[in-house]
């Protein structure tokens, strides 16, 4: 931080001061003179986004109501048949529950662990904190496929380090869990792997949020005789509210698009689809089973899931933010 402000002294200092003084939104100031120039500058990016995200997204929604497949040239409108096929599948509810379970465990677990890590990193000071930040970020650099493979080994029944550890602390051998074999344990295991993967990134974001809390609030709470817990709940958390909002939304999207980790951890969906999420199901239905219409219907449901969840989360969390400040 400090080095940065040395490099561009006035700029950084002014902006930091201004932020402290008033948390107003940055006002866009060049009214109409550069409207066209500005639009022109943004144009190439906008074109890419429209062509490669928005168009395929709308195409996907449209094709979900047709008998589209790679062979037929002109898709016919068939109404809700694809969705009916999907809902009739006996795995549909199982996959939906799996997805919901993954979202719940991942979003709550990820947030709690990241906030705790953030608090601890803030406590221990800069040097040690930096060391921890750098180290726990490492998993983020690995491919999801690698992460899946790694945790398949970690959780493996006979040879896995986790069961070795449990044995070592005295768990009798017949009680050792078959992590990726028992239906109830598969999703939590996947969640653990994913949280291991992202804890570094999110704790950095939370830590940064905590560094921005003005010291005076802590001074006041110390004078008032607040306990550490009260201080955390009434000072730290309210200030973190914006970061919590963003992170919750991001974690939800990530858990919805979790694909490679469950796939490589459970060898393509796990025993009896107990490790299959909506994303993975859509992929295997399309590319392995070649049921195109059904796969597209699943992916539309997935997109719907994402939009609805993001909307609900934003609604709840933004209300909390306003209420607290």
């Amino acid at each position: 931080m400090r080095k940065d402000s040395v490099r561009v002294p006035s700029a950084r200092r002014v902006c930091l001061e201004r932020q402290d003084m008033k948390k107003t939104r940055h006002v866009c100031y060049y009214k109409s003179i550069w409207k066209w120039n500005g639009a022109l500058m943004a144009l190439p990016g906008i074109v890419l986004i429209v062509v490669f995200i928005i168009v395929p997204f709308l195409m996907n929604v449209g094709y979900a109501f047709t008998d589209y497949n790679t062979a037929s040239d002109v898709p016919r409108f068939i109404g809700l048949t694809n969705f009916r096929n999907m809902a009739k599948d006996r795995d549909f509810w199982l996959v939906c529950t799996n997805t919901l379970k993954l979202i719940l465990t991942y979003v709550i677990g990820g947030n709690v662990i990241a906030i705790l890590l953030g608090v601890m990193i803030t406590n221990v000071g800069r040097k040690f904190g930096n060391f921890v930040k750098t180290s726990i970020y490492f998993p983020q650099l690995l491919s999801m496929v690698v992460v899946g493979f790694l945790w398949r080994i970690m959780f493996s029944y006979n040879n896995g380090p986790i069961n070795h550890f449990l044995e070592w602390i005295g768990v009798p051998p017949d009680l050792l869990p078959q992590w990726l074999g028992v239906p109830a344990l598969i999703i939590p295991s996947i969640s653990t792997a994913l949280i291991w993967l992202i804890s570094g990134y999110y704790s950095i974001i939370y830590h940064a949020g905590m560094m921005n809390i003005p010291m005076s609030y802590y001074e006041v709470s110390a004078i008032e005789g607040a306990s550490k817990w009260q201080e955390f709940v009434h000072v730290t958390l309210p200030f973190l509210a914006p970061s919590i909002t963003i992170n919750t939304v991001l974690l939800t999207v990530e858990s919805l698009s979790a694909f490679a980790v469950p796939a490589s951890m459970t060898g393509g969906g796990g025993p009896g689809r107990y490790g299959t999420t909506l994303a993975l199901w859509s992929y295997t239905t399309y590319f392995n089973n070649h049921q195109y219409g059904k796969a597209i219907a699943i992916s539309v449901v997935l997109g719907l899931f994402a939009v609805v969840l993001a909307f609900i989360e934003l609604k709840i969390l933004l209300k909390k933010e306003v209420g607290n400040s």
Binding site: A42, V124, S135, I136, F149, L150, I153, S299, V307
Partner: protein, 283 residues
């Protein structure tokens, strides 16, 4: 910022509990990676015998040798590098231009663009991935480096715009005001004033998106079917489908694939953290 730091300094000695917990967590995070690296140097028999021990006389490079020939590693590395570089260059250029226009010019259109790109972060990639093949095919860029790079760029732009805009909004308005008074055009403000200031945040965008693109399985698997053009991770994923998993090959290829990104991260780590903090927390 400064005061917060003094706070942590004065507390430093009291937080032994935090230190121990953090150390344990760091070990928990690094342990699987360490195990993977160590085991990649063992023959498969030794891996199956015991995953947790390492005997020096087991040391062998045979897994690496096999991986490099089976996966045609060099070819995969070249493909991955080309696609990643193309996408990153486009992401940085177009993303920073978009963010620059959004944060400097006041127009309804650009505000809509900003809101839309934030919204797009929330859409899981699976909601669009199935249509990419017909789309790219109809444009005649299926199975090409550029086609895949375009997709990666489009997927990276919302995040890049979010980070760049967050950063540019912290820059003082006097900077560009002074330039306007001196008669600078919008392009000149971008190249002469904003570009030099964007170094840190650009490093962040590069690392964040380069690791994503380098490690991505889905897009590269779907958009490239030509065996000579596939990227590294899809090649590696082939080990998944085989009935008896060749753990030695899996581990060795994992290490090889992750090395370039890890090197990039270690090299630029300091800037990366700084930019992440300056761009991501705001708003």
């Amino acid at each position: 910022m400064k005061r917060a730091r003094t706070k942590s300094l004065s507390w430093q000695n009291k937080h032994i509990g935090s230190r121990i917990l953090l150390l344990l967590f760091t070990i928990f995070v690094l342990f699987p990676i360490l195990l993977a690296v160590l085991n990649s140097f063992k023959p498969i028999a030794a891996i199956q015998r015991n995953f947790l021990t390492f005997d020096l006389k087991d040391f062998s490079l045979s897994a690496y040798d096999k991986v490099i020939t089976i996966l045609r590693f060099g070819e995969g590395l070249w493909n991955t590098t080309v696609v990643t570089l193309l996408s990153i260059v486009m992401t940085v250029l177009l993303g920073s231009l978009m963010a620059f226009a959004i944060s400097l010019v006041n127009s309804k259109f650009l505000r809509t663009v900003y809101m839309t790109s934030i919204l797009l972060i929330c859409i899981p990639i699976h909601a669009i991935i199935l249509q990419l093949v017909p789309l790219l095919k109809s444009m005649g860029i299926l199975n090409t480096y550029f086609g895949t790079a375009f997709v990666f760029t489009a997927l990276s732009l919302p995040v890049a715009v979010f980070l760049y805009t967050g950063f540019m909004r912290t820059l003082p308005r006097e900077l560009s005001e002074a330039a306007v008074v001196d008669g600078c055009s919008l392009w000149r403000i971008y190249t002469a004033i904003y570009m030099p200031l964007m170094k840190t945040i650009t490093v962040t965008v590069i690392i964040l998106r380069a690791t994503y693109i380098w490690n991505d399985l889905l897009v590269s698997l779907v958009t490239i079917s030509d065996a000579t053009k596939t990227m590294l991770v899809p090649r590696m994923y082939a080990f998944n489908s085989s009935t008896s998993t060749r753990w030695d090959l899996v581990l060795a290829s994992s290490v090889l694939v992750s090395l370039p990104v890890a090197a990039l991260y270690l090299f630029l780590q300091k800037f990366y953290m700084r930019g992440l903090v300056s761009g991501a927390v705001k708003e």
